[in-house]
Symmetry: none
Subunit: 211 residues, 2 copies
Amino acid sequence: MITIFIIDDHPLVTDGIKTMLQSENYLQVTGTAKTGKEALAFLEKQPVDVILLDISLPDMDGLVLCELIRTKNKATKIIGVTSANDAGIITQLLHRGGNGYLLKNMERDELIHAIHRVLDGHVYLSREANEKVLQQYQSLNTALNQMPVLTRREKEILALLSEGLTGPQIADKLHLSTYTVETHRKNMLQKFNVTSTMLLIKVAREYKLLN
Amino acid sequence: MITIFIIDDHPLVTDGIKTMLQSENYLQVTGTAKTGKEALAFLEKQPVDVILLDISLPDMDGLVLCELIRTKNKATKIIGVTSANDAGIITQLLHRGGNGYLLKNMERDELIHAIHRVLDGHVYLSREANEKVLQQYQSLNTALNQMPVLTRREKEILALLSEGLTGPQIADKLHLSTYTVETHRKNMLQKFNVTSTMLLIKVAREYKLLN
DNA sequence: CCGGCACTACCTGCATTCAGGTATTTTTCC
DNA sequence: GGAAAAATACCTGAATGCAGGTAGTGCCGG
């Protein structure tokens, strides 16, 4: 028995996936959620084997949600499902702990095959997605390989900086010393090899670490 | 008995709609199509009461298809179904003979309600679509009304600031005094009513004055 | 021909950021 | 339990940015 959880704000899609999975009686959809919040609440109590995650959700970025789920539950396999076929999203998803990527125009067989693949420890990308990735991989991989790894705190501060808050304002908001905030900022400047916050935000945006 | 035809290249969506309609036994899905060509071929032989039409199709523009179907069959009601809520699409759809517009995040009840409404000769627009359209128009208007007017030089400096250049660097590049650059920057801060270059860039981006 | 606008330039004082550190505590992971 | 990573905090000096001015030049349109 394989338990499956569906996160999508479209009842249509949820119903469609359920219908597709009905044919295999060892696949059981134990729950669904329309928002990231709902999903986290459910998974807290009742873990599942595979999560089908729509990247575009109303209340939070699906990529962020993927990361959150991954930190909480290391065993669960996460398959991203979107209608867009964007190489950027795919690579990001994988970097944030995703195990697979499907397009919403998938057939029933592909969905079931993907579930088996990720449970076997493989990464499954839809054929179309795969092509896109390979196509753009050469140009992207240099950048992605060099992409600095930011800590939780650093990401938090980066986001606030991008909102236009100053060092002292951030320190106040997070109840930290300005020195601490400056240290984090300084470390990020080093990691990205830039000389100012403006450039930091700019390249972070290019690395798609920011909206 | 109401006959329904679904045009969508996503089996997921087709299945989902079918499932939603199963609850009402007087609603019968007599066929589906993944492409515009398929759809036209089917409808030629076997007209239906209501068509649920995905606007984004692989082989042709859904809006054009709507127009084609309308010319061939005046009695059929056409409801557009998309995931995007774009004002342009809605108005175009109606101009080309569409009778309704639904978002893919609809609930079962809304779908059934929409079918009844269009059969009664009304135009049905999903509440969310309506709201978002109005919302977009409003935000666009307010944005355009309050949008500061920047001079040529200011725009030039704004662009360089957004590239991450510092005041002195810009002064050097444009062969100006740093004082001059700072004056322009200062004037822009006033015009946008912000207190830092970071915020200046942020709101300028929101006003779509920057890439 | 003159008033308004854009562009240029300058000054002062204060705030913030940047570039170098060092150092302690807490968390995470094996 | 101990090492590594992360988070916290501090210091100094120099550079840059911000807020508040003032002021000259040139251009355009009523």
